[in-house]
Symmetry: D2
Subunit: 149 residues, 4 copies
Amino acid sequence: MQQFIPQNTNFKAMVEEKMELNHFMNHLGFKINKIEAGLIEGELNIEPHHRQQIGFLHGGVIATLADLVAGFAAYTLVKNEQTVVTAELKISYFNPGVGDTAFCRGFVLKSGQKLIFSEAEIFVNNNGQDIIVAKSSATFAIVELQKLI
Amino acid sequence: MQQFIPQNTNFKAMVEEKMELNHFMNHLGFKINKIEAGLIEGELNIEPHHRQQIGFLHGGVIATLADLVAGFAAYTLVKNEQTVVTAELKISYFNPGVGDTAFCRGFVLKSGQKLIFSEAEIFVNNNGQDIIVAKSSATFAIVELQKLI
Amino acid sequence: MQQFIPQNTNFKAMVEEKMELNHFMNHLGFKINKIEAGLIEGELNIEPHHRQQIGFLHGGVIATLADLVAGFAAYTLVKNEQTVVTAELKISYFNPGVGDTAFCRGFVLKSGQKLIFSEAEIFVNNNGQDIIVAKSSATFAIVELQKLI
Amino acid sequence: MQQFIPQNTNFKAMVEEKMELNHFMNHLGFKINKIEAGLIEGELNIEPHHRQQIGFLHGGVIATLADLVAGFAAYTLVKNEQTVVTAELKISYFNPGVGDTAFCRGFVLKSGQKLIFSEAEIFVNNNGQDIIVAKSSATFAIVELQKLI
């Protein structure tokens, strides 16, 4: 992992505050348990309503987790009066999401003046073994907060 | 829109049966209201728990809708003993999801022997006007059902 | 196709000037023959060195054409002192590039303050019939020229 | 890097034979200098005709290098009577390609029965320092050779 120097020493509190207000994330039950400059990790207890028709973790939940950890990883690197919005996200599905817990990691690859590029990896724990189910690459635009609201 | 000839005349019932079993889709409250060969349309009443911290429709919900309509559009074109799995999906976010109803359309661009390429468009109705919030391009792999289970 | 109002009435001359200086585009032999606000079309005579080992048009050439027409389509919509750089590009390959002429169309889907989203379609003419070989979706960042140089 | 067991012990000769016949790759002057199971590395001397209007390495050349190394990395893992075709490729551009030599690495992330997922990284050497200019994620379909020709 690359080392990034945050522009805002308060970035952990910024992420925590944003998490609390993120209705869909809280509704899913996703918990972030590591917040570092350019790096976010979290976990989801997979419940029946997170699954698709065959019982695998739904691809839309996986894409949501990818967006959350990749986006929060980007958000750790912006200034106090800035936020990030997802410009685009691509996700590749490697293996079916069979298991009861999902683990996700989002990390920044390039932090620019206007854009931040992050990746995310999503694993599912199946009988004690972590299997990678998906990998994502995304672009985030840095936005001045006063322009957004 | 391109015209496709379904390989299974029973494709509407196939989609309806699969929809009923899709826990995450039903949990979200997404309703499909048009099923044609290579084309799916549906709607979502946007509820508070579908939103992110600023009140916009969450990008993960949008990606889920894209995956559902693009994937079901692909599914209308496979044989009876086949299904599709998402190999990858890219989604670009054009405008914030401000409004109370989302409308989605998924359509196939190319239906091959092994892969089906679909796109999805997601609109949000804001004060009577449909605004495009995202567009997605995805690849689905055709899988023989007996190999999947 | 959506209608866009260019911010620079001189956009055709801007594109033509940029084309003349684009070494790789000229080296490939790609010719742009339509320049409108948010829309670019062009053609390539496919030569032996544009092909891969089986004789199909090389995927890298196709990606290059996609980047050129999608990027120039975006460029028609910026201000005089601005340019665009490709943030990311995704390309899906639908059919093998069998034939002697490629035709490409790039068009803008969303033109924002910081980002422009475009798509590109690439066709190859095989015995008088245009077959779509690829479709691309890309994000371009608007850059002030004085910051780039 | 993950370790992969090739299904064909002859994979190095397979790649070398395919390289010789790849007209566009040879026309560009790209040289592969490492061939391992699931891993390909190569170099390009950047010439004036590889550049765009500002003198940076053209994005289309970069996408071509990504497709070549990611695709050949996938190709090292297929059986003797099989080949791979690019289903889709996404490339993110992190930094301008300023310099005289490009170095590329392609590596497989997941090798399945029908699809292989690879990534590629492209660096440019500028005054002795390797700068990452782009990263790519791609999906390759495994094709039986007799079906292709």
